[in-house]
């Protein structure tokens, strides 16, 4: 049922990525499941990361996680744990991994993978309900780095 035939499309899409970016298919996890290297090669911007986390069309992280620092955005969910203090509990490499594909470190987690383009069942074209013709990651490499940077500021 899983769709691997779309790898070609993913590769083509990756070809259009910015120079210096790591394409979703080329991301390297170390033996602990973390991703040490920056995906974009450009330092993350915490302020941009905060926008990604609250924007429903982007990360919408607060849909499932409470984040006290983002309390201006209404209605934080509680499907996932609170993210307060995550900057103390995880390294940037670990946070990057959890955002890219949380299932590497936490098998079976309900958390979606925000920088992955293959291995899906019945992937759709956005929220149209129609089949996807090509699959873009939910976030860009730089958006992932921006979120990693913002999460790093969340200290107890």
């Amino acid at each position: 049922m899983k769709v691997y035939a779309l790898t070609l499309a993913a590769t083509l899409a990756a070809g259009a990525a910015f120079a210096g970016e790591v394409a979703p298919a080329d991301v390297v996890f170390n033996e602990d499941g973390a991703i040490v290297a920056s995906l974009s090669g450009v330092a993350g911007n915490p302020a941009e990361g905060a926008k990604v986390m609250t924007n429903r069309g982007l990360g919408n992280c607060v849909a499932c996680h409470e984040v006290s620092a983002l309390s201006d955005a209404p209605f934080h969910g509680n499907v996932g744990p609170s993210l307060d203090g995550v900057g103390d509990r995880w390294s940037a490499a670990e946070l990057r991994s959890i955002i890219v594909n949380a299932k590497v470190m936490y098998e079976g987690t309900v958390m979606p993978s925000f920088y992955r383009v293959s291995g899906f069942t019945r992937p759709g074209d956005g929220y149209t309900g129609k089949a996807a013709t090509e699959i873009a990651p939910l976030l860009t490499a730089q958006q992932v780095e921006d979120v990693v940077a913002f999460l790093g500021t969340l200290k107890e």
Binding site: G77, N78, P112, G124
Partner: protein
């Protein structure tokens, strides 16, 4: 897989207090001040492996205003569809010159208990039939009329009229015998994580009922209240219409209303509500 998922959640929940704010409430649904409905029941035996011991109507997950709207037929917008379906019930359509009433008489008598046992195996046809399929079988074969579109307004209204006759009766769909293989298929679909977001029915409605996704209070995804009037789209919604919306929201290619997949899924999900009162037409967000 579920065990590992829970371990992960537990690991992530270090230093976080349990949130009980959004738990389902303990209110009692009394219809029209008369009929007390069973909105919580012991989970059916086949759910033992899920760890869920109580099945709950989605009614418990809605706010007081929405709950009250369903409790009084004069406030329940879904009852307007029932009114329109009564008219349709008595209207002759098709080349056979029949209405529903021509064969079935008064719906209040003939349709009592029907909703509670559907989807149901039809021995003559050798197929599992949803209520919608049965309505359309009558329309095409008995009335020689055009079938309703599977998840259309007229179909939802007719389902509401039929459901009303079973309100308060316990859902009791059969899952064994000739339908067992279909039930198993429905169960597999229930646990299949679809779309770019990789969410299954279970991701939200088994692992996370009671929790919030932004402002959405996740229920157990029970369908004993269908068809359901949703405040969100201000119309009566069919089970398959809702399934389609859920699958779409996982960023997946949906199945079609009336498809084999959704018929199987409807049987499985209905069976998770065995023991709950039929509520249709219910009112939800």
């Amino acid at each position: 897989m579920k065990f590992k998922a829970l371990t992960a959640v537990a690991a992530l929940m270090v230093a976080m207090p349990a949130i009980t704010l959004a738990d389902p409430d303990d209110d009692t649904l009394v219809l029209n001040g008369e009929t007390e409905m069973v909105t919580k029941a012991a989970a059916p035996a086949h759910m033992e492996e899920t760890g869920i011991d109580t099945v709950m109507s989605g009614w418990h997950f809605r706010n007081d205003d929405t709950q009250a709207m369903q409790a009084d037929d004069f406030d329940n917008p879904g009852m307007l569809a029932v009114e329109s379906a009564i008219e349709a019930w008595n209207t002759v359509e098709g080349e056979a010159g029949k209405s529903c009433a021509s064969c079935h008489g008064a719906a209040e008598d003939s349709m009592k208990g029907i909703r509670a046992v559907y989807p149901k195996w039809n021995e003559t046809a050798g197929e599992l039939r949803t209520l919608a399929m049965q309505v359309n079988d009558c329309r095409t074969n008995q009335m020689k009329a055009e079938p309703y579109k599977y998840d259309s307004g007229p179909m939802a209204a007719m389902e509401a009229l039929i459901s009303v006759q079973s309100r308060g009766m316990p859902v009791n769909v059969a899952i064994d015998g000739p339908v067992q293989a279909i039930w198993e298929k429905g169960k597999e679909l229930y646990y299949t994580r679809t779309g770019i977001l990789e969410l299954s029915c279970a991701s939200c409605h088994e692992e996370n009922y009671g929790n919030m996704i932004r402002a959405d209070h996740l229920s157990q995804g029970q369908i004993n209240g269908f068809p359901t009037y949703r405040l969100k789209n201000a119309k009566l919604n069919t089970v398959h219409g809702r399934f389609k919306g859920c699958v779409r929201d996982t960023r997946a290619e949906t199945y079609k209303p009336g498809s084999e997949e959704f018929i199987a899924l409807e049987l499985y999900v209905a069976s998770r509500g065995n023991g709950l009162s039929v509520e249709g037409p219910s009112v939800r967000n």
